[in-house]
Structures are given as C-alpha cells and as structure tokens.
Amino acid sequence: MRQTISAVFLYMLLLISILSSARLGYVHIPFHEIIHILFSGMSGPHDTASSATAAIIMDIRIPRIIAAALVGGALGVSGTVFQALLLNPLADPYTLGISSGAAFGASLAIVLGVLGICLPKFVSIPLLAFTGAMGSLFIVMGLASGSKGLSSTNLILAGVIVSAILSAAIGFMKFLADEQVGAIIFWLMGSFSAISWDQVLLMAVVTGPCIILVQLYSRELNVVATGEKTARSMGIDTARLRVLLLGICSFWTAIAVSISGIIGFVGLIVPHLLRHWAGPDNRWLAILSFPTGALLLLAADTVTRAILPAEVPIGVLTALIGGPFFCFIFKRRQVELQGGF
C-alpha cells in the first residue's frame, strides 16, 4: 500500500517538477505561457508566442530538463539493479568500472578530434563512450569469472582494478589533449548544458525497453538475495542473470553517460534511500527508483542551471551534496539493521 502510494506520488511529482522547473531560469517565463508553448509546440510550429520565448522553452530548457530526468532515472534504476544483483551496497556503474570505461571512450573521442582523425563529435563521443563502457564491462566480467562462475566480490575487485587503469589512461588523454583539455574535464564532471533533441530522443528510446526488462526480472533479483546456491536451487541461472542484467544496465548507463558526462552518487544513493522507505522488494524498487533518480538529478540540474549564480558542473554538485548525504544514510542504516542494508 505504502509502495503504491509512493509510486503514484513520485510519478506525479516528477511530472509537476518537469513543468515547473521549465519556469525557472535566467529569463522569466510565466507558467501559462509555458503550457501554451508546450501544446502548440506539439501541434505544429510556434506561431502565437514570441519565437524567442518559444525557443528558450522548446530548444533549451525542455530538452535539458527531460534529459536530466531520463539520465537520473537510468542511474537510479541501474544502481538498484547492481546492488541487488551483486549483494553489495557499494555496487553501481562506478564501482564496476563502467563509467570509467565510458569516460575513457569519450576522452579518446575528444583527443582523436584534436588530432584531426575521426567522425564529428556528436557521433564519436556517444559511440566511443558506449564502446568503452561495454569494453570495460567485458574486461571486468572476464577478470572476475573463475571456475565457480562470476562472484560478486571478484566483480567489485575487478571493477576497482580496471577503473584505476582507466583513470591513468584518462590522465594521459588529458595530457595529449593539450588545449582541448577543458572539453575533457568539463565532460568528466558532467553537464546538461548543451543537450539537443536528438540526444533526448536517443535516451528516451533506450529507457522504455530497459525499464521493462528490469521490471520483468525483478522477482529473480529478490531471490538472488538468498545467496548463490539457494537461488540456483530454485532454478535461477544466476550467471546468466548477471550477464543479462549487467548488460542491460551497462548499456543504459553508457548511453546516459555519453550524453551527460559522468554523474556520481545518484546510482548509489537512490537504492539506499528507497530501501529505507519502501523496503528491499526489488519489484517495487525497480518501479520507484526511476522517478526518484529522475527527481534528484532534475533538482540538482535546476539548482545549477537556474539558482546558482554560475553553472557548477552537475557531477561536482551531485558528489558534493550526495557524498556526505550518502555517508549519513549509510551510517544510520548500519545502526538500524545491524549490518544489513
């Protein structure tokens, strides 16, 4: 019951937040005008409202807002799935080296651009970020798999090793990038400031299937919590489930990272926050973590876009707010549940 109400509430809040955050910004636009622009924007080219206002809403704010929400949702759900699958409260796309892989791919794209090789950046960055993410996932899974299959401790360890190597490689890319180093750093810190409709569309197309697949496998995720042997004795092929769900969520994360850059702590905080509120049942966590992640990241992005005097990179903001907050809930939960989470 509590979960049903939370789900309805969160999705409505997300819708309201998307509309109301469109109001906030350097140029003041009244609410009724936003609604008007949104509806006429959908039915055809802008005619009535002044085209400048319409352009601000339709070409700058709305794509950015939707992108922030979709990326936040992706990170939230991925974090939930990773933690449930690996039975580890620290698992998220970072600890598994997936974000680092994407970051390496993106910096490589920028450096190749500097050297004059390669495709235009709007193609090469997502493509190489995605390749990097999947590449590092395969390396991590290869490193972690032994004679007894994929163990979750090994996965985290392998993730840490691969991340360490990749961050050195990213350092080298920065060195190579010379004058373009700013572009890499900006990207590594995350930003929604130059989002296009194409990117939003890409993210939206990926979101639907990913969230449905995760939901379909959420009961398995619960059973996995009883441990490897017990889960297998209930007929779950745990190795296959890991590959499948890690694959889906890594793919989803890679697409998200390729449009927004690296954004930390959303994937880590959302599952902890929700387990505290709605319990550990993954059938609900999967449904709830999407709007929660979306709301958190949308709020953070609105703060940096419209409230702070100068734009702070979103990744920096989420880490600065999210880090200490995570410490707080993590400690409190340790005390409450005697080591459980």
Binding site: S147, R219, R232, L337, G340
Partner: protein, 264 residues
C-alpha cells in the same frame, strides 16, 4: 528415488578428484545422513545432487533421469536445498523470504495465489515462525534465521530436501527442533532427505540411513544403527570412539577422545 552411478568430479582439470567413483542409492521417504571428516566431499556431493555442479564422469539419477537432463525449473519443484550459512543482507521480512520459496511456481508476471499464501503460512506454522513474519531477517538470531531458511526450502514443496550442514551453527535446542520438524515431514509426507551432517550423534538420533565418506569415496553405507561401529568411526575420523546406548531413545550414541599418543 536417487541412484549415484560411478560418480567422479573435480573442480578443475589441474586439481585432484574431489569425488572418486561413488555408487549408492537412496530410497524415497528415507532420511540419509552423509557423514565424514572435513573436506571429504559432502558439500560437493550435495551440489551434484542439486544440479549446481555437473559430474565429470558417471551420473546421478533422480526418478530414473540424470539430474543434468532435468529442466532446472522442474527440478526446483522437486528438490530444495538449505545451505549451511543462510544469510541475507537485505532487510526482507521473514515472510517475504519464505515466499521466495514459491518462485519455481510463479510466472514472470503472475504473482502469488491463495494456494501459495496458504503453503507459506503452513510451513511457517510448522517451524513456529509465524510470529516473526514481519521481522526483518537481518534482525533475527542464528536459530530463528535457520528456521526461516528451512521454511523457505519447504515452501518449494519438494519431494527431496537437501541439507548442507543446516544445523551446524546452531545451539542444541534449535538443532533438535529443526531435525524433528524435518523427520516429521519424512514420516507423514514421505519426504526424502539427504543431509550432510558433522555431528555423528545428531545423525544417530535422526537418520534412517548413512553414507560415510572419506577422501571422496564411500567408506561404508547402510541403515544407521548397524554403522555405529567403533572401528569404522576411529578409522574415518582418526579418533578413539566408544559406543553406548542412548539414554532417551532406542539407538546408540558415541563418545570420543584423541588417540593415546595425542592425548593431552
């Protein structure tokens, strides 16, 4: 119900054989104890029974069909398992954990029906854990948690229950309690139980048959009281053993000491 035929297994080609040519069978409705010293292959054998591991040579037949040929989902409706260390780090309630035992019967979309809920309530009643239903499993004591683990396995409504030292970490009360519940199931519902057990005296109290293993081989097998022999146990465990009558029930118990030269 179960036939082990010339079973060989090793974890890796470069490693020595863990299971070396086992041959024995297990009757329906029996409670069979697998005994033997640490590292003799008990856990490995149970993993082969449950289909988690695949034999390198030979087969295990369950209802005349090799375990490896069974559809894993169908097998999980027939065979359930209780591991030694059942621990859950997520704060699921005890009832939610027992409900997970119904997983092999649920569809991807379809949830628990009335029958499923009734089965869950019934097994929780049998293990006297209904009062713990809403408690997070992370807050339960070892004995309570292991009763939840057994209830979860029984919720699978299996024909065969595999116990991997399911009572090793428990106090005497909880060990006896869990074994009694399980033996009742054997007697009233014709459940077959295969249990890896460390404690010979516990096995003597509850098992109808035993298989003594040593270094991956079967050292002796058969009905329980006949196998309670001092020489056999001395040989397998490397201790001196003295058999005496159980004070409370028909049967035997054993006292142990280290051999003379090692006595302190």
């Amino acid at each position: 119900m179960w036939q082990v035929k010339d079973l060989w297994f090793r974890y890796h080609e470069d490693m020595p054989w863990t299971i070396r040519g086992l041959n024995f069978s297990i009757e329906e409705g029996s409670l069979t104890g697998i005994l033997g010293p640490n590292g003799c292959g008990k856990t490995t054998l149970l993993d082969l029974f449950s289909g988690i591991l695949r034999p390198n040579q030979g087969t295990i037949l369950f209802q005349d069909q090799p375990v490896t040929d069974w559809d894993t989902r169908e097998l999980s409706r027939q065979v359930a398992m209780v591991p030694q260390d059942f621990s859950i780090r997520f704060a699921f309630t005890a009832r939610q954990v027992v409900e997970m035992g119904r997983f092999p019967y649920l569809g991807r979309i379809k949830g628990m029906g009335q029958t499923d809920h009734d089965i869950v309530t019934q097994v929780m009643e049998e293990l006297d854990i209904l009062s713990l239903s809403e408690r997070p499993v992370t807050m339960l004591s070892g004995g309570e948690l292991q009763r939840v683990a057994v209830a979860r396995a029984l919720a699978q409504t299996p024909k065969t229950l595999l116990l991997d030292e399911a009572t090793s970490n428990l106090d005497i009360f909880h060990s006896l309690y869990i074994m009694s519940v399980i033996r009742d199931k054997v007697e009233t519902e014709n459940l077959t139980v295969i249990a890896a057990i460390h404690d010979i005296n516990l096995a003597a109290m509850y098992c109808s048959n035993t298989v003594f293993m040593d270094q991956g081989r079967v050292e002796a097998s058969g009905p329980m009281p006949a196998l309670m022999k001092e020489e056999l146990i001395s040989k397998i465990y490397g201790v001196e053993a003295a058999v005496h009558k159980d004070a409370f029930r028909q049967g035997l118990q054993i006292s142990f000491r280290l051999p003379d030269k090692m006595t302190r």
